[in-house]
Subunit: 126 residues, 4 copies
């Protein structure tokens, strides 16, 4: 799934580019959009993130329009891996890429749990 990201002036730091931490937020935005729009789930997120990796390729400057591609690449018993590519919308130049690992989580019992079968199929489709 590919989504457009609305960057904010406050995402940019005195270096004149998007601050490095924002990319983890952009990943989260793409993940949330995939969850709600591609998977048809409600905007609640019964998982925790156990790992995040970002590799920064080019600076994103004020006015650069950004897209994020998000793809499920691995669904295990309790966790799944999502890969992301942040692209300049105008020419698809790669700005950054990375991944996150999500672990299915029951907030009531505060424990990791198995991914329900119906969710497993939806995850694989992103």
């Amino acid at each position: 799934m590919r989504v457009s990201i609305e960057t904010r002036y406050s995402d940019y730091d005195p270096g004149g580019h998007v601050n490095n931490a924002c990319y983890v937020t952009y990943f989260e935005m793409a993940r949330g959009r995939a969850w709600v729009e591609a998977m048809g789930m409600p905007p609640e997120f019964p998982f925790v993130v156990s790992e995040a990796l970002v590799r920064y390729v080019r600076q994103a400057r004020l006015g650069d329009p950004l897209d994020v591609e998000v793809t499920t690449t691995d669904v295990r018993e309790k966790s799944w891996l999502l890969r992301y590519r942040v692209l300049d919308r105008r020419d698809d130049r790669l700005i950054a890429y990375g991944h996150t690992v999500q672990v299915m989580f029951d907030y009531a019992t505060q424990q990791s749990v198995e991914i329900p079968a119906e969710l497993r199929a939806k995850l694989a489709a992103v």
Copy 2:
């Protein structure tokens, strides 16, 4: 170097814990403190981040006091690697850990450059 991190209410998300993206900011805070306080450099940062990794071990809840340990583990020609551990200040329980890669950068020419010799020594001391 080990520094205390002042968390903010707005760092916490509806999951009741520090949002995953904030850890990259906590790494940046520790990196900045090391740069200014341990290395004696001015609060300007002539480098870009080329990679960030975070592994999340435990949730940080409201009121949990956090420290970050930051250590230089590798200094190359143009880049250096910093490792971080986020700890509960009360009992040193590990909350998260990870690393970032910094690349020496000349913002005027927008190019990566060699790490100056005097900076190299200071980096190794963190």
Copy 3:
């Protein structure tokens, strides 16, 4: 001008609603969109904010789609006032409202300056 705002999961705090500080950012997003899209200016902002007021009417919850209306209500010699209304996109219920004052600013000399005549006309049109 009325714009849609892409909220982020990290905008929400443990109260389960958008954190109060984010509304000032939403105002900034609407201001920037008006500047670029309605006024045709480049994404650089030669002004500083001298005042911001937000009145919070209803909580915005996860999944609530938000719009911001922004209107110029007063253009003086060096400053102008923008008013904002944050609305639920589905039923136009008022979530928050407020204003900001902008002062034309020359970053090179670090001084406030008069609003150029051509900009004055564009501001009045928002």
Copy 4:
């Protein structure tokens, strides 16, 4: 009460100064510190913010150490007003000032409620 604020590199925007929205967060930090440290309350916040005003007097630049003074100026039946001054720690120069209004709130019933008598006394002492 006067507290030191740990600013973050990501608080600064391409203008080279603290972004305007961050001051509302700095107010929140001072409010939270007063709540926990001066009033002895747990780090949970049974109120909502109904109004925030910031007046920006001087830019805060990288390396400027900031303090926030917070004072209760009005305690009503269900709400109270806090005033804030953001100061340069080195010379007490005024950077920004403003206020917020808090409304006592029962998150379980989602309704505003009266301020308990014991809290009323603690609020007046800040």
